[in-house]
């Protein structure tokens, strides 16, 4: 695809301006490349955190389920179900805030808070300890879920920023810079042509002056 030549006056001043713009654009491309590298490093660090945290969350949910089944094994499934009829549900709230990260990007911060209950959820005289343990594992798993959501949202933000910067870089590299190169070449060509014509004009004028001077003599 041929680059577009800009509609400019083919003068030396314009040529200087075009060259200045080209060096600016190249500098911006360099900066964008470095920014994308930094963002990619941050992205990789987040991704590295994500997988083990997800494994940990699965393990906790698994363990919570096993402990819940153990509670059923100790007390009986009906008894555990019956205990749940009068168990106070736990109220969770997620508080959202942001923190400034790499290159000033705002990353979300999610905090999970549990409303404290005034009395134990399960009657300690009537239910096995594994029910408490299951409940606390689920609580830990929920905290991990919120952390995962935070990482996921941060990764999403990062990817959007990386995509924007890549688009900017690509636009500079494949549209603006080639356009500038083509325009500079065009102006240089025009200037060369003008110089050649000037040179020819000067020679013609010189020859005519010489002929006139020869006639006068």
């Amino acid at each position: 695809m041929s680059a577009e030549v800009a509609n400019v006056h083919p003068t030396r001043l314009e040529l200087l301006r075009l060259k200045h713009r080209k060096s600016m654009a190249e500098g911006i491309v360099d900066i964008l490349k470095k920014e994308i590298d930094a963002l990619t490093l941050t992205l990789l660090e987040l991704v590295k955190e994500f997988s083990p945290l997800r494994q940990k969350m699965y393990a906790e949910v698994n363990e919570a389920y096993n402990l819940f089944v153990e509670a059923q094994m100790v007390s009986g499934s009906k008894k555990v179900e019956e205990a749940s009829l009068v168990t106070q549900p736990v109220d969770y709230q997620i508080f959202e805030s942001t923190t400034t990260g790499v290159l000033g990007i705002q990353f979300p911060v999610f905090k999970l808070k549990q409303n404290q209950l005034s009395e134990p959820r399960f009657n300690p005289l009537d239910t096995p300890a594994s029910l408490d343990e299951s409940s606390s594992r689920i609580d830990e798993a929920l905290h991990d879920v919120v952390k995962l959501a935070q990482i996921f949202e941060s990764v999403k933000n990062l990817l959007e920023v990386i995509a924007t910067k890549k688009r900017q870089m690509n636009r500079l590299q494949f549209k603006i810079l080639p356009g500038l190169d083509a325009t500079i070449r065009y102006v240089e060509l025009i200037l060369e042509e003008t110089e050649r014509q000037d040179a020819i004009r000067v020679r013609i004028l010189q020859r005519k002056r010489k002929e006139r001077s020869m006639k006068n003599v």
Partner: protein, 352 residues
């Protein structure tokens, strides 16, 4: 005489029980049909075969066993077994209260109820149909022995809105009743019964202390859940345990209290706890339960010269733990829990 009848009632061999770990429900059901659980298992097999129906069958068998022993006994032993059956009746009352609080329909509520004693199916249905609130349930059951305790607890519930207050009141009444009935026996029977029930009550309190400490409850809050009758761990001993800084210090404090009271069975149990690696509260509860079972059997060995109530209590404890083990196996099989984990949860007498 129940002391002789107990010898005729059979328990399942431990090896046979271990052999059921990891087996399918249909295999477990067919094996149990050749045991004292035959009647109830056959009845359950006619309906849907799942862990719920098998658990209900085991529970029915235990209640039936206690009722059979009740018809054969008299005097103090009769009161003792009545006290044990009262535990089941109290559980039924708890179920009634829970289902009414949760606003379940009569039919839904009856799914949870195990009829026993005064609260047979008709009585429970009548209670559910005529009760819309907890107060209605308490009014209906006020005519029974535990009615007064429930009414007192209900006044506290109205102030605090803590449902557990009602359940704890029932449990306290049941254990107080058992302790009183044990005290009404004579001679060796009285000594053995007070040892066994006293130990059971102490262990219930100890489990409660550990759990409540894990939940970071303060002294006053923990005391709300304690059974205030005791053979060895009185209020001072329990206070010391509650205020100990960690699990190990709590165990050491309880061991010392048992030692100071010259309570051998308590010392055995807490000595084992001191030597074991306790990884979780459920692990600790297992050790305590095993200790209770061993104490029951130790009682028979100590007093073999005469027939005594120890044989009856040991049998009922063994039966209770047998049902607990079978329930663990059945539910573990249904949920696909690995056999090794199920075996860790089983409670057997020590082979010595």
């Amino acid at each position: 005489m129940p002391k002789l009848t107990v010898e005729k009632l059979k328990l399942i061999d431990n090896k046979q029980i271990i052999g059921l770990v990891g087996a399918s429900l249909s295999h477990i059901s067919s094996v149990l049909q050749n045991t004292p659980y035959k009647l109830e298992i056959l009845e359950a097999s006619r309906k849907e075969l799942n862990s719920l129906s098998l658990e209900a069958a085991l529970q029915k068998n235990f209640t039936r066993t206690c009722e059979e022993l009740l018809t054969l006994s008299s005097g103090g032993i009769h009161s003792l077994i009545s006290g044990l059956l009262l535990k089941f009746e109290a559980n039924t009352v708890k179920t009634l209260l829970r289902t009414v609080k949760a606003n379940l329909s009569t039919e839904e509520a009856l799914n949870y109820i195990v009829p026993v004693g005064n609260l047979n199916e008709q009585a429970c249905r009548k209670v559910l149909e005529n009760s819309e609130t907890l107060e209605d349930v308490i009014d209906v059951v006020s005519e029974y022995d535990y009615g007064e305790a429930l009414e007192t607890a209900f006044d506290v519930y109205l102030k605090t809105k803590d449902f557990h207050v009602l359940e704890v009141a029932l449990d306290r009444y049941v254990y107080f009743n058992l302790w009183k009935n044990a005290g009404n026996l004579w001679g060796l029977d009285k000594k053995i019964a007070k040892n066994i029930f006293g130990l059971e009550i102490d262990l219930v309190n100890v489990k409660t202390v550990f759990r409540c400490k894990k939940m970071n409850l303060n002294l006053a809050e923990i005391k709300q859940y304690l059974i205030d009758v005791s053979s060895v761990f009185d209020k001072i001993a329990l206070n010391k345990a509650i205020t100990a800084k960690d699990t190990q210090s709590t165990i050491d404090s309880l061991f010392k209290s048992g030692k100071d009271a010259l309570a051998r069975d308590h010392q055995y149990i807490f000595d084992e706890l001191q030597k074991s690696t306790i990884t979780s509260l459920s692990n600790l509860e297992n050790v305590l339960d095993r200790g209770l079972l061993d104490a029951n059997l130790r009682m028979i060995k100590r007093h073999t010269a005469f027939f005594n109530v120890g044989l009856l209590l040991a049998f009922l404890t063994l039966k209770r733990f047998e049902i607990k083990n079978l329930r663990a196996i059945i539910r573990g099989s249904e949920a696909g829990i690995v056999p090794e984990r199920v075996k860790e949860m089983l409670i057997f007498k020590r082979v010595n």
